[in-house]
């Protein structure tokens, strides 16, 4: 485990930055589709959302492994932000997929705005401080 730890830590670091950029990109796409073009969620967008959910889950899993291996974040509240990031997209996926009124892209505008904010805060409280 000791030889894997630096690699996992580096991955956790890189994926967090990538997550922020991807979250912001998805937010912009959601705004374009939902607010500018007034369209509903497309198949490819929803696939992207599911992919992003998996990405966040992987990032959280890496964090958990690092924690179990004795690593600690710069601030403990980093764990709370990790929990928030993990839960944010499933909540809004639920709202969108069960929405009776269409279009329902608004859910993902909310979801990715929140996700990006949580990612930013978790980066600020993570290992690099």
């Amino acid at each position: 485990m000791t030889h894997l730890y630096p690699l996992l830590k580096e991955m956790h670091f890189i994926l967090s930055r990538a997550g922020l950029i991807l979250g912001l990109a998805m937010f912009v796409i959601a705004v374009i589709i939902g607010l500018i073009r007034h369209r509903d969620v497309t198949l490819w967008f929803r696939r992207g959302v599911y992919g992003m959910t998996g990405f966040v889950a992987l990032e959280a899993l890496l964090g958990l492994i690092l924690y179990a291996a004795g690593g600690r974040p710069f601030e403990e509240v980093h764990l709370i932000y990790g929990l928030g990031a993990l839960l944010s997209l499933p909540f809004f996926i639920f709202v969108e997929t069960t929405a009776t009124k269409r279009p329902a892209m608004g859910s993902y505008i909310w979801g990715f705005a929140l996700l990006a904010a949580i990612f930013l805060r978790s980066i600020m409280t993570g290992a690099s401080g």
């Binding site: 929990l83 839960l87 909540f91 809004f92 009124k101 608004g106």
Partner: protein, 251 residues
């Protein structure tokens, strides 16, 4: 004799507030369950029910804290009373007034997410200084000594302002609409009472800054009584009366 010595006005106000909010929560949630069984969703009743359970938790924690120190109940008191009650009560009003798309449901999810994040933050990750506590002390007065600024406290102004605007503003908006259209007088009166009741805890919180901390306890008690009475008055109007006229449904 010892028990009598422990009685203080904040404790008495807290007991009354806890009893009324528990009864009110039961009443509202029973209506929600009844509506669900009848095939209606009524999410505003669920949101109010959650808000009222939090109101109860806040005042119940106050009772515990006026008798003995508990870091768990202090964190629960702060989280439920200062952070979560107002936006959940406001969420019920948002469900009634904002009917476009899934806006209300999205706001609820954001609220749920913030509550899930802030609860363990307040309970387990916030350092508390229990040395500032003594039996019967006014909890509001020692908050700054027990809990340092920043952290989870950063959410409080945003959540409270948002919740109060939603609850009070929504109730005022509804009652003004009913007044203008000259219909459903009971709902108009009920909404005025809900608005007044929603303002009471906010007023109590605002007066803390003027060192009038003791007002918080009676303000919470009067607030829940007014909201309960307002709810009963507003729901005394037959529901079918409001439907064909396209007026905002309240309570």
């Amino acid at each position: 004799m010892k028990a009598v010595n422990m009685l203080s006005l904040p404790l008495i106000f807290s007991v009354v507030t806890a009893a009324i909010s528990a009864a009110f929560a039961f009443f509202v949630l029973r209506r929600w369950v009844g509506a669900r069984r009848a095939g209606k969703s009524r999410p505003h009743l669920l949101a109010w029910g959650i808000g009222l359970i939090l109101y109860f938790l806040g005042s119940f924690s106050q009772i515990i804290l006026s008798l003995q120190w508990s870091a768990f109940f202090f964190a629960l008191w702060y989280w439920s009373g200062a952070l979560a009650v107002a936006p959940w009560l406001g969420q019920g009003t948002i469900y009634l007034l904002v009917r476009r798309g899934s806006i209300a449901r999205n706001i609820q999810m954001a609220l749920l997410l913030i509550c899930i994040m802030t609860l363990p933050w307040a309970l387990f990750l916030t350092p508390l200084n229990g040395a500032a506590w003594e039996p019967g002390i006014d909890m509001v007065r020692i908050t700054n000594d027990v809990m340092q600024r920043g952290g989870v406290r950063g959410f409080v102004p945003v959540m409270n302002v948002w919740g109060t605007i939603a609850l009070v503003g929504g109730a005022i908006y509804s009652s003004m609409l009913f007044r203008r259209k000259q219909i459903l007088r009971s709902r108009m009166i009920g909404n005025w009472l809900i608005a007044a009741g929603g303002l009471m805890p906010a007023l109590g919180g605002a007066l803390i800054r003027l060192e009038l901390t003791w007002i918080k306890y009676p303000a919470e008690m009067v607030g829940i009584i007014l909201i309960f009475v307002g709810f009963l008055v507003a729901t005394s109007a037959p529901e079918e009366d409001s439907r064909p006229r396209r007026t905002p449904r309240t309570a």
